[in-house]
Point group: C2
Chain length 426, copies 2
């Protein structure tokens, strides 16, 4: 039998759109010993996490908790709960992750209508509103920050339009939560799904989400109590379950929420004071999420958003000073991912490999039509720092020089330093 | 805004059927810094983990990898992939987790037939084989170690019967993997799902599984390449995808695997050398799983199984010496969970609370018909130690005395000590 070595990951500066470097305080929290899932010391942590997530999502919603899986598990849980088979769903697509929403909605039996925007731009809200009036969907599913193209979709007008028409709006805020304002209540978003491994700087493994009363009403109407948990036990729980059972009995099978693991009606019972047994909450990930959100709130959301703007701005200024071109519409740029055109004649993957192998710095490639055309450089969470921006600019310049590109050597880092000095002057 | 305190979980001795205490070396591994998901240093860890999981599951199967969710996510992924809507599925139920398999199979559109065994016993394999011949299912889904009743179902004859009839056998080995022999190949099991938070002593958050060629053929026939990943890129990947796309185009929608997050055909592409983008692998959990499995293999599976037998035996002997009755059939007892009848006149929950609050020791209550009737005391993974068994017996005795039970004080711990001495003599 082979003997495997002890774990020893090489040190990395991670400047991708995720997973990014985790805050060491989050990693420390994750190394604490276990608690049982129904230990009052643990359920208190769950309740605190719900409170903190409400603040993070800027909402007074009753429900704000993590789904126990990576980001797309939260997207799937929201869509599985809020789309009934045969319902019309509108998915406006302006990058790779819009296609994912389309895919998931199709798998849950939706009649999906799509509108597509050229990659590198976002929708004028009026385009989306016109499509809503044409398609008359039950649900609109939309990406907020599209990391494949580095674009940020404004949501306020779309939220108001959905609300006034009784359409549920489900938002993928995986890339934006904790780095860019996400105003669940002010923008009238019905369900919002975040990610841990991007601007929150918690390792991948959970998908915090929130949803409002309208969304809850819809998912409760499709509730189904799990077999093996239906045994009468007396008290309020029993009464509630009998009602639910009766409803379940009347529901045709295809109206039920399909997934058991990703069933929000079961998850909310588990996160409620009833603590109805479902999965075993991910102990260490919950420790990490609680610590990550705690640190975000301690920094202050406004300060945190300003930090992401600052370092994203310094990086962009440095890249342009190097003579590189940023990709996509300037006004709608997502401040936490810079998309950079790979210069003609440069092998993008060879440059990435040189950065990783020689400098221990990781930047990202891209998807689909942009593959080989742009790099994506993230400034997210704990990775979003002056040190990382300066080191990355210097290393990228060196890698491009090494690959024979003619560029104004030294300019990038000087420009970023100047950017910081100027920003401090304000 | 409330200020939340730094995390400080109280120390616990966790003697439940999971989550149990994590090995501190696993927690240390989980506190290492992040690596990007496509960083060669990380994909090497993924590949090593697959190799180690093959050894853990005692299989030569090509596929052995974790699903990124808690145990039931792996069960759902296996059933979602291997059950086509309308297919007949047989679920033999001898406890709470059999009902879960029934529930999941129903949600994925199976025509489920159930046979039930009285709780506290397992099936005679002939009963299951007769039901297979009566029902003629496409899939049999069966629990190996039922933690709700502390019973262990023998699988060898059922495996042989399924294989000879062309029926796929899916096994829930969540409670047994790493603590009790699980012989995937020797017992002819087609798909086996394990858990991390029980005998492996890794925090909850992943569901390692394995499946063979027959299972893979079935799930590949239902494969669907995700939207947004279908852009031609040339080379072999393109050819493979075009074939899959053509197949997907011909498949009626309801034949596709329903879940996207839990789609094994996509997960295996992500775990294959193609590394087709799906979710973002849970970095810290993968570190933890790799370390947990590495430690299990280093201890040696036979030695590890013997350790679980030894401490389970000592605990049972101590409990009986205290005058307590064990629940369920003796010959089929699962060695890693002792089910103990709560003595007449004793409030089981009050005793559990006293143990937790005064001694920092957690034991478990139970489900459904056994609620209030038995306690469940686990001896799993890192929690399965002489120290924990002796401390638990002493504390439980004290708690019962405190609650007014008449019992032979001192006997339990003395009997366990003697049990250890005798076992060492052999």
């Amino acid at each position: 039998m082979t003997r495997y070595r002890e774990l020893a990951p090489p040190p990395r500066t991670i400047m991708t759109p995720g997973p990014v470097e985790a805050d060491p305080r989050v990693l420390r929290a994750m190394s604490y010993p276990m608690l049982g899932q129904f230990d009052p010391a643990f359920t208190a942590l769950m309740n605190e996490t719900m409170e903190m997530l409400r603040a993070l999502f800027a909402t007074a919603n009753g429900w704000a908790y993590p789904v126990d899986g990576t980001s797309r598990s939260g997207l799937e849980a929201a869509l599985a709960a809020l789309i009934e088979p045969g319902e019309r769903v509108l998915v406006p697509i302006f990058g790779r992750f819009g296609h994912l929403l389309h895919e998931i909605a199709l798998r849950y039996g939706a009649e999906v209508s799509v509108i597509e925007q050229e990659w590198g731009r976002v929708f004028d809200p009026q385009q989306v509103i016109e499509a809503i009036d044409r398609v008359r969907p039950a649900v609109v599913a939309l990406v907020h920050g599209e990391t494949s193209t580095g674009q940020l979709q404004p949501l306020r007008e779309i939220g108001a339009a959905c609300r006034s028409r009784g359409v549920l709006l489900v938002v993928d805020a995986v890339a934006t939560i904790g780095g860019v304002p996400v105003e669940t209540d002010a923008w009238q978003l019905d369900a919002v799904v975040g990610g841990t491994q991007k601007c929150l700087s918690v390792p991948p493994g959970m998908a915090p989400l929130t949803y409002n009363d309208a969304a809850e009403r819809k998912l409760l109407a499709r509730r189904r109590i799990e077999r093996g948990l239906r045994t009468p036990e007396g008290g309020e729980a029993q009464a509630a379950r009998q009602i639910a059972d009766a409803q379940a009995g009347m529901l045709p099978r295809e109206r039920h929420i399909r997934s058991n693991y990703l069933d929000l009606s079961q998850l909310q019972d588990y996160w409620s004071p009833a603590r109805l047994n479902h999965h075993t909450e991910m102990t260490s990930m919950l420790y990490g999420l609680r610590e990550g959100v705690r640190l975000a709130l301690e920094e202050g959301l406004a300060a945190r958003h300003a930090r992401h703007l600052l370092h994203g701005g310094a990086l962009a200024a440095g890249l342009e000073a190097m003579g590189l071109q940023l990709y996509g519409e300037r006004v709608s740029r997502l401040p936490v991912v810079a998309c950079v055109r790979i210069p003609d004649g440069i092998d993008g993957e060879a440059v990435r490999a040189l950065l990783l192998e020689q400098f221990g710095i990781e930047i990202a490639s891209s998807f689909g039509p942009l593959k080989g055309m742009i790099w994506r450089i993230g400034t997210m969470g704990y990775s979003c720092s002056r040190r990382n921006v300066l080191l990355t600019l210097g290393a990228l310049e060196a890698a491009l020089l090494r690959h024979g590109l003619r560029l104004p050597a030294g300019e990038a880092v000087q420009t970023a330093l100047q950017y910081y000095t100027r920003s401090e002057g304000i």
